[in-house]
């Protein structure tokens, strides 16, 4: 039996004493494209960040690929929300992608020629080869997001976790990124993305977790995004409203 990509039991998290998540119990299956959805302030990002050890006060059990995070760090790649990354930082696109090899090489050793080859390959795969030497702050939102996905690919992770990967991204880039992520799942990898576009989730994702301070529903998008549970999460039915 394959372990789920992520299993949370009795998780709660708070920011500065204010509870953001309570009683989260959820299993996200492996090998599928999964979305974490919900209204603003529902704790979508917090759930993912808490599970990754990025939020200070967290309780409960977290298992990534059946293991505690510290055992599977190399196998889990994280693409943070774009405003969690330093603005105006002097670094080029290829240097960002190279970061994906650091979990394997450590922080002191040089990258190997094999690493360089892999970096070049994944940059070609997401279509940013000609941007390699451009500083990251001169790229558009879509180009940046391609570079960050390339970093996750360079890590050769079995599980990629993305926080709002499609904000400030052009439609063509979103289609390309979705296609690559779907391809990864077909090859056996797992993808968990925090996302806010419900239409997108219905059309492209295999699995969804609907949040509102805790887990409201989880399962296939069609089963989860029902008027009933949407009303519980949003206090109204946003799909019907459109």
């Amino acid at each position: 039996m394959t372990e789920p990509a992520l299993r949370l039991q009795g998780m709660s998290a708070s920011y500065g004493g204010r509870p953001v998540l309570t009683g989260v119990d959820v299993e996200i299956p492996a090998g599928v494209l999964s979305a974490v959805v919900g209204p603003n302030g529902a704790g979508k990002s917090t759930m993912v960040k808490a599970a990754l050890g990025l939020v200070p006060s967290v309780r409960g059990t977290v298992r990534w690929l059946g293991q505690p995070l510290r055992r599977v760090r190399k196998r889990v790649a994280y693409v943070p929300q774009s405003d969690a990354v330093a603005k105006d930082f002097p670094i080029t696109a290829v240097q960002v992608v190279e970061m994906g090899r650091y979990p394997h090489r450590g922080w002191l050793r040089r990258l190997t020629p094999g690493d360089d080859e892999l970096v070049a390959d994944v940059m070609a795969q997401v279509g940013v080869t000609d941007l390699a030497d451009r500083p990251i702050d001169e790229l558009s939102g879509g180009q940046r997001q391609r570079v960050f996905l390339a970093r996750a690919l360079a890590q050769r992770a079995e599980l990629i976790v993305l926080d709002e990967p499609f904000t400030a991204v052009d439609a063509r880039t979103e289609a390309t990124l979705l296609e690559i992520l779907t391809g990864l799942c077909r090859d056996g990898a797992s993808v968990i993305a925090v996302h806010h576009d419900l239409r997108d989730v219905l059309d492209h994702f295999d699995h969804a977790v609907l949040m509102a301070g805790t887990v409201v529903a989880a399962g296939t998008p069609a089963d989860v995004l029902t008027p009933d549970s949407l009303e519980r999460a949003y206090g109204m039915a946003p799909l019907a409203a459109r």
Binding site: G16, L52, L54, R73, A84, A86, I91, M99, Y102, L108
Partner: protein, 329 residues
Amino acid sequence: MSAVVAGSLQPGALQPASLQPGALQPGSLQAGPLGGLLDALPLSYPDAVVVVGTAVVGFVAGLLGPLAVLRQRSMFGDAMSHGTLAGVAVAFLLTGAKVPELLLLGAAVSATLAAFAMIALERTGRLRSDAAIGVVLSVSLTLGIVLLTGISDSGNAQQSGLDEYLLGQTAGMVERDIVVALAGAGVAVVVILLGFRLLRSATFDPGFTAVAGVRTWVVDAASTGLLALAVVLGVRTVGAILMVALLVAPVVTARQLTTRLAALLPLSAVVGAACGAVGGLVSGRAELPAGPVIVLLATALAVLAVVLAPRRGVIARARAGRLREGAAR
């Protein structure tokens, strides 16, 4: 006769003739800890001490300034430098003498306390970081000034010159100060070289770096420690009030000229060193406090770079924008 003249013009004897003879004497007589290295400069000995000393201080500030600027902690560094004053005063009160190394130790302790105070206020008092910085900055400056005023009113003959820690002073700099600064510079260079990848990664993308298994508080602590080092080394030369400018301005200049961190760090260090050396020399000759002169120089360079830099400068960007508009039409 001619042989005697030739004999007195041996290469070793020739060298001093090209320098100011009067000022040279003390330097050539006393072999300091730097082993006469300063005599190699075409400057009088006291000038050479000031130029090399302020250059090393500027080098360290320029090299470590990115830890404040790129991590958006410039004001954090400012509060730490204001925090040094009280430490200098307390060290003097405890020892009753102006031993530079002990005063620097006091400065280091109180700068570190200021850093801890800001972090603690932010974490437990739930203040926003700008408020925590504001509180610590003003309280520690007040404390420093009260203590220094108290000391100067006490009539202690030893105390004269303590107030130079406020605005900076290069007069009275000796070779031993350079040795201390060089040791600090050595530590800074080694830590930056070894930790470069980690610092870059943790500053650029702390989330990714933490998930990759790095305890980011270790990186935070190390960079705060390095900032304290830069501040403490510079506080006597540049002064507690203006030290932050020497941390920030060289970074601004260097950032305008490069798009890679590996180039930015040495460039910023060289800019810092140049501003220190030239500013130190000018202030000594013009009998002005060193801090303001060095800082004005560093700021002028930064302004020039912001306006004129080839790629990122205001003019270059305006031109590129006009080109794009033209192309779009």
